[in-house]
């Protein structure tokens, strides 16, 4: 029974991935056929030769997500230490949940005026900043729970032995926090990578990321390119998950 259930769950979880992969190679997938009549690499060729912008979308998405994840992880790690040891830690945590819990698209509309005023709408920098406003509190939540009495004691020991702030971070705090830093980077990358709401409002559809392009394909009912876009969108998270599988699964 357990084996059957395992098999069922495996099928329903793997099916979307297989479907997108097959559909991205398909050319004639008409109703009521179960499988496409032809498999071809023409969509990939077309994507590279004629619709090269999808590769630009991939590149733009990667730049935006990597920048957002790096900035959030870096700032989150440093700033969270002071907040975690503060007497108002609970209040700070509660505030951090708000930007993260808001629907990104509604939050983006509320902030849009300021982004327009500072000429940050319609460019990649504005999107990075907007996503940072959401991912930074998330990083703070993750790191605030990480700072402990043990870590503080180790840090104070280094200072007592004459270590500098830089040495404390380099030799004690960063090595001891390696796993949570990687998890934070992974999570913030995913939040940014999957974002559609903030990007569409702040980017004014001028900045073409993969999610924006995917929405266009779905709207146009271009299922083959939508499947191809899905594969591109899913690929980096799979790689990240695979690279960090030991750490992620343990946590």
């Amino acid at each position: 029974m357990k084996r059957a259930l395992n098999l069922f769950l495996t099928i329903i979880f793997i099916l979307p991935f297989v479907f997108f992969l097959v559909l991205s190679f398909a050319s004639e997938y008409y109703y009521p056929e179960m499988f496409p009549a032809n498999l071809t690499i023409s969509h990939f060729v077309q994507m590279i030769q004629t619709d090269s912008s999808i590769l630009e979308c991939l590149f733009t998405s990667l730049i935006i997500s990597l920048s957002t994840a790096c900035l959030s992880t870096l700032f989150g790690f440093i700033v969270s230490k002071s907040l975690a040891y503060h007497s108002k830690k609970k209040l700070f945590q509660m505030i951090c949940y708000l930007p993260f819990a808001f629907s990104p698209v509604i939050f983006a509309y509320c902030l849009n005026y300021f982004f327009n005023s500072f000429d940050l709408s319609g460019n990649a920098f504005g999107i990075i900043l907007a996503q940072f406003i959401v991912t930074f509190p998330f990083a703070l939540i993750l790191f605030m729970n990480h700072w402990s009495v043990n870590l503080k004691a180790s840090e104070q020991l280094v200072y007592t032995l004459g270590g500098s702030v830089w040495q404390t971070y380099k030799l004690i705090l960063i090595p001891m926090s390696k796993s949570i830093i990687i998890i934070c980077f992974f999570q913030t990358f995913l939040i940014s990578w999957f974002d559609y709401g903030l990007t569409s409002v702040i980017g004014l559809s001028k900045v073409q990321t993969l999610t924006i392009r995917m929405y266009q394909y779905i709207n146009e009912s271009n299922i083959y390119f939508a499947a191809l876009g899905s594969c591109l969108l899913i690929f980096p998270p799979i790689i990240l998950l695979w690279m960090n599988k030991n750490m992620v699964f343990k946590t």
Partner: protein, 274 residues
């Protein structure tokens, strides 16, 4: 400046300031104190909004969809985690992570391809002779019951809670409580109903509430899989902002504030209960 003070200033500038400025701007706009067509302080937009039937049906719909999805997802996750509790699932655990790397926009495309009129299920039904043509397949996408949206939400949520419950089962040492209850004469069903499930639900309550908020404000799934009327709250706000009629902007901000107040109230409640 001390590093802790500097960090506090960064926190205020990057977390509190954007949040507060966005909300204050929305308040000013909704009361007619800001905007291109501002005529001074007025309750007009709020009155209009509060007497608008679509707003209430949208709020009710969002609450219902989020509540139904989270309840079913938590129920499935509880059943699965209790079923898998003694089973070495570490290897097969990887499959539970797979739905988590599907962004909402891809998930909606998948649901469309799977449950749509020309989707995989419809093709299977046709080939099995259960339906005669494409139109005889019941519409599960853009339907009045939001089935497509609910099913997608369940699909993306229950693996998270299964993993969460499995980890809580170990970290809370529920096994030992179950053994104790068993020694005291509890039956297998009582162990589940009166020991394991209450502990798991109690421990996961903050996560359940947070997920409820996420689902309540979900945007991409109802945008692609939902109906034109009634719309879920995020989609309704999005459509009000996107209309060419700028007279609707104050209403859109007022509606955003109603949504924000639900989120803020829930978060405060969550932290006070904690």
């Amino acid at each position: 400046m001390k590093s802790s003070t500097l960090n506090l200033v960064i926190f205020i500038c990057l977390v509190i300031l954007p949040l507060a400025s966005g909300l204050v701007f929305a308040i000013l706009y909704s009361f007619g104190l800001f905007g291109a067509l501002s005529l001074g302080f007025t309750f007009e937009y709020w009155y209009k909004l509060l007497y608008d039937q679509t707003v209430w049906s949208s709020l009710l719909l969002s609450l219902t969809v989020a509540l139904v999805s989270i309840c079913i997802a938590v129920f499935i996750a509880l059943m699965l985690s209790l079923y898998y509790r003694d089973y070495k699932i570490s290897r097969s655990k990887i499959i539970f992570y797979l739905p988590l790397i599907l962004p909402p926009i891809i998930l909606s495309f998948w649901t469309f391809s799977f449950l749509g009129n020309s989707g995989i299920v419809s093709r299977i039904c046709f080939n099995l002779g259960l339906i005669s043509d494409i139109d005889s397949f019941p519409s599960l996408i853009n339907d009045s019951y939001y089935l497509g949206v609910i099913l997608s939400m369940i699909f993306s949520t229950f693996p998270v809670f299964t993993l969460l419950f499995l980890s809580f089962y170990e970290s809370e040492n529920i096994k030992s409580y179950e053994r104790l209850a068993f020694t005291l004469g509890g039956t297998a069903s009582q162990l589940k109903r009166k020991v394991a499930i209450p502990i798991l639900l109690h421990r996961a309550r903050p996560n359940i509430i947070l997920y409820f908020i996420f689902l309540f404000g979900a945007f991409e799934l109802p945008l692609i899989l939902g109906r034109q009327s009634p719309r879920m709250i995020s989609v309704l706000i999005h459509s009000k902002f996107n209309k060419f009629n700028i007279y609707e902007l104050p209403e859109a901000y007022a509606l955003s504030l109603i949504y924000a107040s639900v989120v803020v109230f829930t978060i405060i409640l969550l932290f006070n209960k904690k």
